[in-house]
Point group: C3
Chain length 118, copies 3
């Protein structure tokens, strides 16, 4: 099964997360800059009893397509460890199933498309 | 079932859509700037009988992961109402199933990862 | 079945890929700028025997939601042909299933939401 792991992490954890993914040997990844908020709505803690405006914070989104559930777990664990501070705002990881993968240069599909087969 | 709702809306509807999502009480969201076009290819109306170049227009992409089909519906309705003008270019909403969710700070997974449980 | 086709291609192939998608008649698309790397980790070839840092390269991400497996194939083929150079870094294509689609202006859902029905 091919799976995409998506993670939203702190901007200053970009290098650490990238290094952690490199260390486990992922075969590719994509990053982009996004803005977001979680349950604190961008504040330092949850503000109760009044509706506050959402403050968007800059985050880095990682996208990594992997080739098995085993790699899904490995990838999540690597991100989790590298992105952790213990303070609100450390981020979220989501995964979903990929139907089809294709490498444009070689026309390889599926498992082969996301492996280092050469 | 965990579901990601993705919406592409007008730039000048960013604040309205964010406020609508805040009002229904979503527990997190991510936004990014994208470029896109729909069936009019970036023009004011559909140009027939000749093939026109696609004109990319700036749009805002919202991503909201929710914890049930009920929340999927609520989220779609909130976006739809807030993003509507009635003119071409109002945008599109797509949803898909999420396999796994994880909160980095607490290591909570699944439903708990996207709820305000504290 | 509704399917999202996601492709990461070279920056200088943006116009070619867009024109190819226009030529087959897709009804909408979204693009964004991302950074990424594949199995060469951003280098010209695979560096063996030592762990090298990942060098992020700018890429263009295309997202196209289509309404059938037939269109999935057509869309992949169009991108593949337009994005190809034969050198490492040509890019990857991934697809996944979409649960629900909605056009904000008309409230059309599913198949109708992503068709030119007018
Ligand atoms: N439900 C969600 N849907 C989409 N994106 C989300 C969601 N929750 C969080 N995010 C993204 O993850 C980023 C980090 O979220 P954050 O770590 O603050 O989550 P949280 O649930 O508030 O956890 P914590 O309590 O540890 O702060 C957000 O800025 C946003 O980009
Ligand atoms: N099929 C699609 N795949 C990917 N993104 C799409 C698709 N259709 C629309 N979008 C995104 O949604 C944005 C808004 O699209 P738009 O509202 O113009 O859709 P439309 O089908 O042309 O509807 P309308 O007729 O109301 O203009 C686009 O700029 C693009 O970013
Ligand atoms: N497994 C992956 N997960 C997420 N994104 C990826 C993955 N593999 C590649 N990408 C994205 O696609 C872009 C292009 O990748 P690239 O074409 O170099 O892949 P490759 O497997 O190294 O193929 P080639 O050997 O032809 O270079 C990367 O910069 C990255 O954005
Ligand atoms: Mg938070
Ligand atoms: Mg349109
Ligand atoms: Mg490569």
């Amino acid at each position: 099964m091919m799976i995409k792991v998506e993670a939203y992490v702190r901007e200053d954890k970009f290098e650490d997360v990238k290094a952690a993914l490199n260390a486990i040997g992922v075969n590719g990844l994509t990053v982009s800059q996004v803005m977001g908020c979680g349950i604190q709505r961008g504040y330092k803690e949850i503000v109760r009893g009044m509706q506050v405006d959402m403050q968007m914070q800059p985050k880095i989104k990682f996208e990594i397509v992997v080739s098995s559930e085993e790699w899904e777990v490995k990838t999540i664990e690597a991100i989790e460890k590298a992105a952790y501070t213990g303070e609100p705002g450390d981020g979220k990881i989501f995964t979903y199933e990929i139907r089809h993968a294709q490498k444009i240069r070689t026309k390889e599909t599926g498992y082969d498309a996301i492996q280092a087969t050469e």
